[in-house]
Amino acid sequence: MSARDLAGSPTCTASTGAEVRVPSLANLYRQEFSFVWRTLRYLGVPPASVEDAAQEVFIVAQRRLSSFDPTRASIRSWLFGIARNTARHHHRSVRRRDPGRLAPAEVPAADPSSNPEVRIAQAEAIALVERGLAKLSPERREVFVLCEIEGLSAPAVADLLSLNVNTVYSRLARARSRFRAATARHLARERGPHG
């Protein structure tokens, strides 16, 4: 699948960016919008709120862009920090404002015109993966999604999250086994009766 190829792409390794210049918001948006969107999803922002949260991330980014120092962090790492805070804030404010309003899980995936079987498979993947992710602590979840879903290398993740590489490895190992356990039963059941 092409998504998997994408996942293995080495976009992340550029994150040492010592002589990177500060981009305009337009460029930042063009390059990182998808990453921000997905990150918000990974961190548990409900589908119905992702659009608002993504907009918030870029509004905050815009206000702070002039003080961003490319010699101290990569732009992606910086954005990830903003997205993480926005995600947290979103959890709190959703809870505070109207706790009754549940976010419906997203059945129609990104492309509403895709065929129903693909959509069902995607909906299933969303349900299953998010259930597994919810079993991980926030720290492990971050490492896990960046390595396993975004396809970043452990050193790149260490750079992104300002962590020691060994910490990344150990969190990743624990997250993998937890995630495996959380999804194993379901996958086994699915494989069992028909093929």
């Binding site: 918001l25 919008f33 969107w37 979103h90 404002r97 899980a105 998010e130 999804t183």
Partner: protein
């Protein structure tokens, strides 16, 4: 990749790849946010020159220290003023309380006033974004805004340390949106960032049936918990719909209808309601109940006019109607 130690097996990797593809942003959302940002950010496509906040960075440590001292002095002054007015208010209230101990109700609105007046520097109550921009919030907001950027070097600090300031920025945004730089406030009012997710034309037809409050006991759980619960439901729904589809493909119409009925009973307003109704139409057709099928197809077309399933539903009925 560092999958050298204990890597995930192929099934899981495929699953994660599918998931990644499924959570890509919809083009419509990308466009909406871009337009709204373009409208509200004047220097959208110019790289920021190290200007206002940048000056602080280029000051060097001694300069920064001076600015910090200046700001802390100002903050202390503001705090003292706020405190003294607060104390004054308190004293006044105490007097009033002594005068009329039984008129508690009268004193209550004052309490609110005292709170606002006493909190000039500390507490900024986030304006409700649905009210639109509140000009009075901007003055105090900007004061707070400046604080962390002086001593905390916000953007460069680790995200944890800048969390508080970021959060407050987020919640104050509607008030600040066009204030600082753009005197030409955009004609198209930008979407308030925390606006609670109502206009979503692209997915309208899908979300409308389940948009109401929690289907099952949503007693104020955290949204993560909520989305897990709804993921669990979704998984169960999927199981049923898939089984029904398998029965259909194998020609077991009656069993398919049984499973669909079960889905209808367990998830009357489920997230896969359209899928269920589409399968139902197919099942009815296969059973030779054409009239019921085309009636249901009609209902389907009215309820979900933009559904990607609609062509399939129509095809099934057309095939049946013209044997």
């Amino acid at each position: 990749m560092d999958s050298s130690r204990d890597p995930l097996d192929d099934d899981l990797r495929d699953l994660l790849a599918t998931y990644r593809a499924a959570v890509q942003p919809p083009a419509a959302s990308e466009l909406r946010i871009r337009e709204s940002l373009q409208a509200s950010v004047p220097d959208w496509s110019t790289a920021p020159a190290p200007a206002d906040e940048g000056v602080l960075l280029s000051l060097g440590s001694r300069g920064r220290q001076a600015v910090f001292l200046l700001f802390s002095a100002a903050a202390a002054l503001a705090l003292t003023l706020g405190l003294s007015s607060y104390l004054g208010e308190q004293r006044q209230r105490a007097q009033e309380h002594q005068q009329s101990p039984f008129q508690r109700r009268d004193a209550e609105p004052r309490e609110g006033q005292a709170h606002v007046r006493g909190s000039t520097s500390a507490v900024v109550t986030p304006p409700d974004p649905r009210e639109g921009s509140e000009p009075h919030a901007t003055s105090s907001a900007s004061a707070v805004d400046e604080g962390p950027s002086v001593d905390g070097r916000p953007a460069l600090a680790t995200p944890e340390s800048s969390e508080i300031s970021e959060v407050s920025e987020v919640s104050e945004e509607p008030g600040k949106g066009g204030a600082p730089a753009s005197t030409e406030t955009p004609a198209r009012t930008p979407r308030a960032p925390t606006q609670t997710a109502s206009p979503r034309p692209a997915r309208e037809d899908r979300e409308e049936p389940q948009a109401g409050p929690g289907r099952d006991g949503s007693d104020g759980a955290a949204s993560v918990g909520a989305s897990v619960a709804s993921s669990l439901d979704l998984a169960e729904e999927l199981r049923l719909i898939r089984r029904a589809e398998e029965h259909l493909r194998a020609g077991r119409d009656a069993q398919a209808i049984e499973v669909l009925d079960r889905h209808r009973r367990d998830f009357p307003k489920g997230q896969l309601e359209p899928e269920r109704e589409a399968s139902q139409v197919s099942a009815l057709c296969q059973q030779g109940r054409e009239r019921e099928a085309s009636a249901q197809a009609q209902v389907f077309a009215e309820r979900w006019p933009h559904s990607p399933l609609l062509p399939r539903v129509r095809r099934v009925c057309a095939a049946v109607a013209t044997p």
